[in-house]
Symmetry: C2
Subunit: 502 residues, 2 copies
């Protein structure tokens, strides 16, 4: 989801609080990343940044409250992306010159396996109890299954407990609920940047909670370090920075495997980050939504739930969902695991607004308990397909001489296109992004993830080969300076939007 | 959902902002009404009342924000109800001396029809588009079906439009989203009382919006009037009262057919209420969630969407859901119909947190489009069963000489037990309610609905005859002064809770 940048914002240098949105309106439900620009008179980048998600907001509606107008404005930005992409979606037969989407983080490689499994007769159970008011934490049979599932796949040293599980309709809801019950309005969470930008909205729209960026950079400063490495020193600096601006920080959000970096934290790193959080009495929201999408064994992924001892178990809250690991973002299933019963209860109290159908709860339980299918059919095939797609795209990038960051996890490659920018500015980043779009391939640019270095792009590879091939061809054309506008492309696809906030 | 009243709050006289909760945690998903008591030093009842949902709140958690602690507190009250009722749920074979639930507004009469229809093979469709990020307003195929369905059953003068439809996971979410986008924190909606008390939470927990009660009473003041009649004069008084207390009122909530009264507004009344709202530029949230549960033709129900001309279409927002009319509170399907695109868009922007599974969206579309089944099988049978159950209970009440209000709509009878209170106080109301519970039948008492007259109870009749029979026997035993504690009842069922907020 994205909006075309506005002419008047070309001079922008930074965009704290910008967000990206996955999961677009539209028949196919695709999502793109959107870009948020910032007024020229705003502060330049620092090593920390307290985001104001509404920095560019101006319009309002006579029918809505001020917060309602801001909430609508976020949608309008998304709608702009919807109109641009979905008006010209690629289709092999019907619209071969349409836009190829390498921007949305969805796994489109395993719909055949999923459809087959979910269509089996054991999935359609309609008992009266499933049609009546649910336990808002999730039906007990499902929470038991989730606890067993997480115990096994997170390799927990002891069995996880169903009473620590809360089930809801996706991790977006979980971020919203956690923000609201952990923070007062105006308080903040730390988050290493670049990060999956939609979290900005998740914590802000209902909860009015902000994000303080812990900016990472690509520079490698020593042996056994890697680009965009998170360190405790950086966490400390960001926290102090926020404090010095009078912003109360209540927690730390960690995404592991990381989106958009594909980075995987080692057990030692995890322990350090958790110790840092404990020192400062920060809650840790651990987003492990890609935990089964680690397709390279060597990545060495481990869940926090595998740790022998959590430094601060009462402030450690783990999220997982079916969106990524089972390629079902449309199923709307997410779960919280926390030992803190105050937090579990407060989130459950909000679950009335995030509940999912009893019928879907039954299906999820069936799926999670089918260990044979998961272990012998789904996961091996999914990993093999992810690996093949990753190999295809990464070899293409190598052939082009393009550096990238990738660690064998997730659906995306973090691509360094800095050498293609005439100047190291976000303006040039957006211009390059627009040239891709004009050549009918959609990527996500780094500013949508709060990356502090202009020129990085996220490229999603978890799609079928024909689309990858065509998408990479179009990327190559642009980078080789030979963009060839596909025939029959309607001119409005590349126009600037008319209004300041469209 | 309910909490046992606390000893220290016996002196309470009023409870603005108390709430009732439907849809309880627990295997069977039942919900009961809960009671909220108020400190003795608080203001006495007036003709209007600005509710403070946290009037009795005191505890807090070191891990939660202050709002998080309040949110958790609401759940704890509910949990108290859960423990009390679900620890001793009636079962014909396994627990015949368990509690009969005539407190939760669910229709348990048609699970056979629903199970049969929902188990048909056309219900299990697993297309990739249903597994991908959805249109957050709802899949277009579903919104088209909802528009057609509402056009037909609301008897709209012209076809309703899919672009005015937003789909989400139940009307609770809709109240939450509307409160947030229409009001600033601390602003209010008017609502005629008695009303379905859970709305207090729906608008407060995320939105921090309050309710201003328009208190109705049972006195009949003239020809062609009825008990608890809503008049424009009362609306005007309540609005002025709120204004005089410095509370900004942004809208009016109307429930039609009404819960708990079962009242049905005439077209003329509707028009008057809507004109009142227009004069004051108030949004109208029209909750029509029982619109197909009018089992007496003579009730003369009409939807606002049937009106030839809405006085203020940009401020009129209609809600409907599958919970009541299709007896599927566990399916979590609700919808908004509004011509106001600012409102529709702002609600859609929050729908990321209220989304429902693509698979359920498909099932709902299949159900709504099956007009033959709805018209020829489901509705006639549902209405016949509701009518029979209503006849059974109302005849029992007549035989007991108990007055009641009932209009041939909804699942409940509003019962006047004032003559059974030694004194006309809410304390006595609660004592009577407890005697019912001790005799293993659960009703909802009027204070949970903000009724201003002590002694009214809501009695749900939409259940199978054996349970109704036993429930009514137990009611009769209490009223005839012969409560017989069922054998084997564990003594903790009737104990006072230990802590101040359990």
């Amino acid at each position: 989801m994205f909006t075309l940048p506005q002419k008047e914002s070309r001079m922008t240098t930074a965009c704290p609080g910008s967000d990206s949105i996955q999961g677009l309106p539209g028949n196919k439900g695709d999502g793109l990343e959107r870009e948020c620009s910032r007024k020229p008179d705003q502060k330049a980048l620092k090593l920390y940044g307290v985001g104001d998600p509404t920095a560019t907001f101006s319009s309002s509606s006579p029918y809505l409250s001020s917060r309602g107008s801001v909430i609508k404005w976020f949608w309008d930005l998304a709608e702009e992306g919807y109109r641009t992409y979905h008006m010209d979606e690629y289709d092999e037969d019907k619209n071969p010159s349409g836009i190829i989407n390498l921007g949305t983080s969805e796994n489109k490689l395993c719909f055949d396996l999923l459809s087959r499994r979910l269509s089996q007769s054991d999935m359609l159970q309609v008992e009266p109890s499933l049609l009546q008011y649910p336990d808002w934490r999730g039906h007990p049979f499902l929470r038991e299954e989730v606890a067993r599932f997480l115990s096994f796949y997170c390799r927990s040293p002891a069995p996880l407990k169903p009473e620590n599980v809360v089930v809801l309709n996706g991790c977006a809801s979980l971020f919203s609920a956690l923000a609201t019950v952990l923070c007062e309005a105006g308080e903040a969470f730390l988050i290493p940047a670049p990060y999956y930008g939609a979290i900005t909205q998740h914590v802000y729209l209902y909860g009015n909670v902000r994000l303080v960026c812990v900016y990472l950079d690509s520079e490698v400063t020593g042996l056994e370090t890697r680009p965009f490495q998170l360190t405790v020193e950086k966490l400390e600096m960001a926290l102090q920075g926020a404090n010095s601006e009078g912003v109360k920080v209540k927690g730390l959000i960690l995404i592991n495997p990381q989106n958009p970096l594909g980075d995987v934290y080692s057990p030692g790193e995890l322990q350090e980050y958790l110790e840092f959080a404990k020192r400062h009495e920060l809650h840790v929201m651990m987003d492990e939504v890609y935990m089964l999408s680690v397709f390279e064994e060597s990545a060495g992924y481990c869940s926090v739930l595998s740790l022998e001892r959590l430094p601060d178990p009462q402030r450690t809250h783990v999220m997982w969902a079916a969106s990524k690991d089972f390629g079902m973002s449309g199923l709307r299933f997410g779960t919280l695991y926390t030992e803190n019963q105050d937090v579990a209860t407060a989130v459950a109290s909000l679950c009335r607004y995030h509940g999912l159908s009893g019928l879907v709860q039954y299906q999820m339980a069936q799926l999670l308990r089918d260990r044979d299918w998961i272990n012998q059919v789904y996961l091996p095939e999914n990993h093999a397909r992810l690996k093949a797609a990753h190999t295809y795209v990464s070899e293409d990038l190598r052939a082009l001489g393009i550096p990238f960051v990738s660690h064998g996890a997730g659906f995306f490659i973090w691509v360094d296109l800095r050498k293609y920018l005439p100047e190291a500015t976000f303006e040039e980043e957006v211009l390059l992004w627009r040239r891709f779009l004009e050549n009918k391939v959609l990527l996500s640019f780094g500013k949508a993830f709060e990356c502090k270095e202009p020129g990085w792009f996220r490229l999603v590879f978890s799609d079928k080969t024909p689309r990858l091939r065509l998408g990479m061809q179009r990327v190559r054309q642009v980078l080789e300076g030979q963009p060839q506008l596909a025939e029959g492309a309607p001119p409005h696809q590349i126009q600037e939007p008319q209004g300041p906030h469209r």
